[in-house]
């Protein structure tokens, strides 16, 4: 995946040394999950299982079990996105990257479990999986970068679960229209919240390509919400998108 992941864990006050040691073990486990996902799914490592699958060196049946799992979930995400997210339509062969980063971060989050953990955030380069909340029980607040003025935040979200944002403003236009087979984005950025970061990531990728009409495929999905920021700065979102109230306007 070639990216950096940061992990923050919020604990109840007064944790013991033993609990700190336990947390460090959980952190190690989360790290292993991410490294393993990178080894299996890195498309730039010629010998990774996914690369060998892309070059037809191995079949899907010969690949590690998680490859089949991810491809199955990608197929579900493709259906839920009305075909706008489609790892099978990428130039150069199947590329589940748009799903894997979120999936791996979500799995890494699952490493954290203890009664003294009140909340945890795994942030995979801007795609965020979370559990719990702040110490005071309030939800985590996550800023969404303004795609038209990336030094600013466009909105703030009260986050329960995960959020993924797709757009072409940092890496150039890497979003591929699966129907046309060429780079094309119809929104400056698309953010999707929901319980699972893998699916949110895939849906955000599809939505950035589909543009505003794509909101129609998010609306019926239980617990998933979306926000689109257009090239003209306009905002369109599904009914339940968890925008946090904020005083005044955010600079943009």
């Amino acid at each position: 995946m070639g990216t950096i992941v940061t992990i923050d864990v919020y604990t109840a006050a007064g944790v013991t040394d033993a609990e700190v040691a336990e947390l460090c073990e959980q952190l190690d486990r989360a790290r292993s999950v991410l490294h393993h996902a990178d080894e299996v799914f890195s498309t730039w490592q010629p010998h990774s299982p996914i690369s060998r699958l892309r070059s037809a060196e191995i079949t899907r049946a010969q690949a590690p079990a998680e490859v089949a799992e991810v491809l199955e979930r990608c197929a579900t995400a493709r259906d839920l996105s009305g075909g706008w997210f489609d790892p099978w339509a990428m130039p150069g062969g199947i590329d589940p990257t748009g799903y894997v980063k979120g999936w791996a971060a979500q799995n890494a989050l699952a490493a954290f479990s203890a009664e003294y953990i009140v909340g945890a955030i795994v942030n995979a380069a801007g795609d965020i999986a979370s559990l719990g909340s702040l110490r005071n029980g309030e939800p985590f607040r996550i800023g969404i970068v303004d795609p038209l003025a990336p030094r600013q935040l466009a909105e703030i979200v009260d986050l329960t679960g995960a959020i993924a944002t797709s757009g072409s403003y940092e890496r150039g236009n890497h979003l591929i229209d699966p129907h046309l087979g060429c780079p094309c984005a119809r929104a400056a950025s698309a953010s999707v919240t929901g319980p699972d970061l893998g699916l949110a990531d895939a849906l955000a990728t599809g939505l950035a390509v589909a543009g505003t009409p794509g909101l129609a495929f998010i609306e019926p999905l239980d617990k998933y919400e979306a926000l689109i920021i257009g090239f003209d700065g306009s905002r369109r979102c599904t009914e339940g998108f968890p925008l946090a109230p904020h005083q005044g306007t955010l600079p943009h």
Partner: protein, 168 residues
């Protein structure tokens, strides 16, 4: 395109209240932030590329921070985070804090290999990241969605720098 291997910055923030923008920063809620946005800009502004630190800082810290005197008590401190690999090279981040308040964030060192595309991305991203770090505490947020590769390296070095400060 995606060259570097995955690197993990694991931070157990809650344990020691490490991150100025991951906190306990109840004093920095949004009502204060409505006014704090320009203030944050001026915090980053006065020392363009400079290395403001030491005795001259507390005054500016006072004008910036709506929060308690207790924060001032620990004084102004600066730390440089470790050099971190990111997709376009290696960078490290310097941060200056007063108590738990971030006063200034900047790049301590960067080597993007001189590749024009890398330089372009860095030029676009880094001022944004400096601003985001300040904004993050102004808006009392725990993360930013939508940023990408450069930001992750930046955040990792920044977190380590903050951790070293909070370790006292």
């Amino acid at each position: 395109m995606r060259r570097t291997p995955i690197v993990i910055g694991g931070t157990v923030a809650g344990l020691v209240g490490v991150l100025a923008f991951h906190t306990k920063s109840a004093p920095l809620s949004l009502p204060a932030a409505a006014g704090a946005a320009p203030a944050a800009g001026s915090a980053a502004g006065p020392g363009p590329g400079g290395t403001r630190k030491g005795a001259s800082q507390p005054a500016s810290g006072t004008s910036l921070s709506p929060s308690s005197a207790a924060q001032q008590a620990s004084g102004v401190r600066t730390a440089v985070g470790p050099a971190v690999n990111y997709s376009y090279g290696v960078l490290s981040v310097k941060v200056t804090v007063s108590g738990r308040k971030i006063l200034r964030v900047g790049i301590a060192s960067i080597d993007d290999g001189g590749n024009p595309r890398s330089q372009y991305i860095d030029e676009q991203s880094i001022p944004m990241l400096e601003q985001q770090a300040i904004q993050a505490q102004s808006y009392n947020i725990q993360g930013v969605s939508g940023a990408s590769y450069t930001s992750a390296g930046f955040a990792q070095s920044l977190q380590s720098a903050l951790r070293s400060l909070s370790a006292k």
